[in-house]
Symmetry: C2
DNA sequence: ATATCAGTACGGCACGTGCCGTGTCGAAAT
DNA sequence: ATTTCGACACGGCACGTGCCGTACTGATAT
């Protein structure tokens, strides 16, 4: 604990300033390669033995890296795993706007569910959310870099539908997003029953039968 | 170390522990007292230093108990904390049926939120849900002994309302429970914004404006 | 010459497990 | 009725293990 307490913005990773934007010089390139190798190894090992048994020592050993190299960049196991998971998704997912709000939400949420609740990365995501419950820094980074962007896209799609008159002008976009997402995380984290596309569809059907454009809500 | 190594018979001192003894004889009563003292200490220490820093060694030390006594009864820190938290709520909470489904749900959910998201026990509950993400046994126990009973009460109240004609006969009770509960856990575990009564009310208003008795859903 | 690296060693902490001697109990023997 | 005994859980202690996070080394690359 307590490595690098200096507030470095919202980023969890400790990237020296000179590595920030300039990927052109060879030194930065080397560092980036090592960083990527470490993250790849983290995902490998994590899938093999699970988050609980995953240790930084083991990652360093398999990656052929020194522990110091890892601690230089990440303050905790959670931060390392978060970066590793997000490195696969840096571009983010793009979602359609076909004009059919329910169909588009379905595509969007199905994709999120596949990423979050299915192998190979679902179990690691789930464990990371667990870790966030007693590591505020991990919680903040997870929110900012994964949850919020995903939520923003959902809200944006809902807003477009409202602007097109498919939803009531009083429709509360943020609340609707929470009502759509909540049951999925409830199923994933609390009841821990399988989170299927069919379940997503049932929720969408239930909600949009009741909150269609003709409803006051 | 090797003081008394002579002539010890090979008797097995530690016979497998039978978990639930009959509480009639004094021996069992003493054991129950010890158990309660350990759980009380667990909650004390947990509130002071948080779940992450809570160690079984520290609990044993403060409770004046041996580590063995703890390991004899609980397989993990999570199991110990779960028992400790639930020991306060053994009776469970009773909820009203005034005939007004929305008002009754509000009372019910407000009480659950107060327990789950407010000091003194909210943070510990939250950490325990986190632990459940990488300890399946904790997850199962948490579900069986806290989540499911709470959900059952919500479903029961919804069923009564449906039987009284306040909800459509096609109303899916389980799904509605998940849609009611989900956003709360989403707020608690994912966005980690404050979980207020006002937020609960907004969700209830939003949902029951849309899913009243005249709706097909 | 400078900086980063892998490798290694270290102190610290909590884990989970042995064994010790003690105290309390109920049952059997005296 | 008193004593003796075995069964059992207990607090305490020490052990070996595993991982933590840090510090130092010499090699390597620019």
């Amino acid at each position: 604990m307590g490595a690098c307490q200096r507030g470095r913005e919202l980023s969890i990773r400790h990237v020296p300033y000179r590595y920030r934007d300039v990927m052109t010089d060879k030194r930065s390139q080397r560092a980036a390669d090592r960083t990527e190798a470490i993250m790849r190894t983290t995902l490998e090992l994590g899938q093999e033995i699970g988050y609980a048994k995953l240790s930084i020592e083991a990652v360093a050993a398999r990656a052929g890296a020194g522990k110091h190299t890892i601690y230089r960049r990440w303050p905790s196991k959670g931060a390392l795993l978060l970066d590793s998971l997000l490195s696969l998704n840096e571009a983010g997912l793009d979602y359609p706007d076909t004009g059919d709000i329910v169909a588009d939400l379905r595509v969007q949420i199905h994709a999120a569910v596949d990423l979050l609740a299915r192998p190979p990365f679902g179990p690691l995501f789930q464990a990371l959310i667990g870790e966030a419950q007693h590591e505020p820094q991990v919680a903040a980074a997870l929110n900012e870099r994964f949850i919020a962007p995903q939520a923003d896209k959902t809200v944006a799609r809902l807003r477009a539908a409202r602007d097109q008159g498919q939803l009531s002008p009083q429709f509360d976009l943020e609340l609707a997003m929470a009502i759509l997402s909540g049951p999925l995380y409830f199923q994933l984290l609390i009841t821990q029953e399988p989170l299927t596309h069919e379940y997503v569809d049932r929720i969408l059907d239930a909600l949009f039968t009741g909150i269609g454009p003709t409803q006051a809500y």
